[in-house]
């Protein structure tokens, strides 16, 4: 076949690059809405306390709700092992080289959970404040955690996750007495990205703010399935 046999053809696509991910995310959201299972996507840097907050949440809600967890990590099953001891169904996704979770991975993980029996599933995203912000996982609500030792400026440096979240949980607030961290400043930064964001200051260690966080989960369940 020679060059003369071919011709150029232009096509206007105007297609969202994440179209395929969005389709799966929509399917996940519809499925969980049918079974009235609240799906929460938790994003943060490594070490800001996602697993600890989830452990405390599982303990506090144990009597009241059936919850499950999907844990994403680049390597190891450590977080999975920790959450397993809380006596809740958990699925570990080891992403290998990926710095974030995508909807297809979550859909597969959901197949390993007794979704119909669960009131809420928490997704512990890969520890990373940048990449996960770009990927809709079909969640009803998105939460970003920022721990006190990380500093207020992380909202300015990595604004995407905060902009797209329904709540910002400032974690490890028991450390406020040792560190220079201005919660008010974080609120100002986050509100300029997203005025509707709920901001809760929590210490899973002392229990401070936990009741507010749990109340929000209850409120979200009502909001998502009314």
């Amino acid at each position: 076949m020679s060059q003369q046999d071919r011709q150029l053809k232009q096509v206007l696509m105007l297609e969202n690059l994440l179209h395929a991910n969005e389709l799966i995310a929509k399917r996940i959201n519809e499925r969980l809405s049918r079974s009235k299972t609240l799906l929460i996507n938790m994003i943060s840097s490594p070490g800001s306390g996602k697993t600890t907050l989830l452990e405390a949440t599982a303990k506090a809600l144990g009597e009241e709700m059936h919850i499950g967890v999907i844990v994403g990590d680049v390597a190891t099953q450590r977080d999975y092992e920790r959450l397993k001891t809380c006596d809740i169904p958990a699925v570990q996704i080891v992403t290998g080289s990926e710095c974030h979770l995508e909807a297809a991975m979550v859909e597969q993980a959901l197949n390993q959970l007794p979704v119909d029996e669960l009131d809420a599933v928490f997704i512990e995203n890969v520890g990373n404040l940048i990449c996960p912000a770009e990927f809709n996982l079909g969640e009803h609500f998105r939460v970003t955690l920022l721990s006190v030792p990380e500093g207020e400026d992380k909202v300015l440096k990595y604004p995407h996750a905060f902009r797209t979240s329904d709540a910002l949980i400032v974690t490890k607030v028991d450390l406020l007495k040792h560190l220079n961290f201005d919660v008010g400043l974080v609120k100002d930064y986050a509100k300029s990205l997203n005025p509707n964001i709920h901001i809760i200051a929590v210490s899973a260690f002392t229990g401070e703010g936990m009741s507010e966080w749990l109340e929000m989960i209850r409120m979200w369940r009502k909001e998502a399935f009314r």
Binding site: Q4, K9, V11, S97, E98, H100, E134, S192
Partner: protein, 139 residues
């Protein structure tokens, strides 16, 4: 997928793979033999670094119908609707100030997406334009 293992911890690479998948699907639909040009619009409110995207694309395209394609990336500014005075304005980052009232940020109207704008492909001559090719087994 062998190509997946290349760039570790860089979401631009998985986005570049999604780009190739979407473009290949379109090429198969119209029965193209190859893709020679892709124009991608990267919103400035996304997390994508254009240089990384360009680099990832060079690897992701290997062995695909877009193997010889050039990628053009156009940065799209963010359009805001000011939280305070509700005026529309453009900015280059999420903390841009409204030029009318000076307050920071606003609701993002556009510039928060990655849009495959258009592609150019090679097709066999005499093939009626827009004809749908046979679905490939892996599509």
């Amino acid at each position: 997928m062998g190509r997946r293992s290349y760039v570790e911890g860089m979401h631009e690479f998985s986005l570049a793979l999604s780009l190739i998948e979407a473009v290949e699907q379109k090429a198969k639909e119209v029965g193209a033999t190859s893709v020679v040009y892709i124009k991608l619009r990267v919103g400035m409110a996304t997390t994508v670094v254009p240089e990384f995207m360009a680099e990832a694309f060079e690897v992701a395209k290997m062995g695909s119908l877009a193997e010889n394609a050039t990628l053009e990336i156009e940065l799209e500014p963010i359009s805001f609707l000011c939280w305070e005075c509700k005026t529309e304005f453009e900015g280059e980052n999420l903390f841009s100030r409204c030029p009318f009232c000076g307050s920071v940020g606003g609701r993002v109207i556009s510039g928060d997406k990655l849009i495959i704008e258009r592609i150019e492909m090679e097709v066999m001559k005499d093939e009626p334009a827009g004809q749908t090719a046979q679905a490939s087994p892996d599509a």
